[in-house]
């Protein structure tokens, strides 16, 4: 009987650590998304130019690549993460301004669609506890190819390639959400700041790709 009660009441330390990691990551993710949304609103109201948006995105990527990995294990990691998400939010200003002037319902649909995809994929990964670590190579190659195609399309400006890149980004970011969530569950990621940064980037890219795809198929554009 004593053995039975011990088996029921004792929770492995690794499970507690995983639950804490997931709880902290989602809490921080919700706060960074709100902060990024506020920064995006500032970008929209101030009519931030495309040049400022580009500089803002470059600064965010530089912080993400060179500063966050060095500060993620200290208290400085949180302000750095808020800086990154704020800069990415500000960088959304011109894109949001464009689609808000064309058809505001596109922005709301993209926002709702992104939320539904993220919640659905996270719920799937969390409830099934499947290991999606086998996706790492596929997702990285896919991301590399998509960035290459986007680079080509800056100069070629082919509408079909623009659509294909956005569809591919939606699929790849969906894969990244599964991969990152499963790596939190299965011990691949143990730092909640890095886990939040990964999920935030996936959500941001998913939102911008969905927004551009919906904008391209909108009749009023």
């Amino acid at each position: 009987m004593n053995q039975y009660s011990n088996a029921v009441t004792s929770i492995p330390a690794s499970a507690l650590a995983t639950n804490k990691l997931i709880r902290n990551s989602y809490l921080l993710l919700s706060m960074t998304l709100l902060f990024s949304g506020a920064a995006a609103a500032v970008g929209v109201f101030m009519h931030v130019s495309q040049g400022v948006a580009l500089i803002s995105n470059i600064a965010a990527i530089a912080l993400l690549w060179f500063v966050l990995p060095r500060t993620a294990n200290s208290a400085m990691g949180i302000p750095v993460l808020f800086g990154i998400t704020g800069l990415f939010g500000l960088g959304l200003g011109p894109l949001l301004n464009h689609y808000l002037s064309v058809n505001p319902s596109i922005v709301m649909t993209a926002l709702g669609g992104t939320g539904a995809i993220f919640l659905g994929l996270s719920a799937y990964a969390l409830t099934t506890r499947k290991d999606f670590s086998f996706l790492a190579g596929f997702l990285m190659v896919g991301l590399f190819v998509v960035i290459g195609a986007a680079l080509l399309n800056i100069f070629l400006a082919i509408p079909a390639l623009f659509l294909a890149v956005n569809v591919a980004v939606i699929m790849i970011m969906s894969g990244f959400i599964l991969f990152q969530t499963s790596s939190m569950i299965n011990g691949g990621e143990t730092n909640y700041i890095m886990a939040t940064a990964g999920l935030f980037l996936s959500i941001l890219n998913l939102f911008t790709a969905l927004l551009q795809l919906l904008g391209a198929f909108n009749n009023n554009d």
Partner: protein
């Protein structure tokens, strides 16, 4: 050609340069998935695709 295009292109080239060693590492060291794993992933992505098509029809 305006400087925004050049700036964006340089930004994407920097991303490719940064990603390349990580991509090579991931391809070499990622565990291999079974057919069942890949089938379940394709099924999930198909559901996402159908949902995106639904959103496109809504706007």
């Amino acid at each position: 050609m305006d400087w925004l295009k050049i700036g964006s292109a340089l930004f994407l080239i920097a991303m490719l340069v940064f990603l390349f060693p990580r991509m090579r590492h991931a391809v070499k060291h990622a565990p291999k998935g079974s057919n069942q794993d890949w089938l379940s992933f394709v099924a999930i992505i198909a559901v996402v695709g159908l949902f995106v098509m639904l959103l496109i029809m809504m706007v």
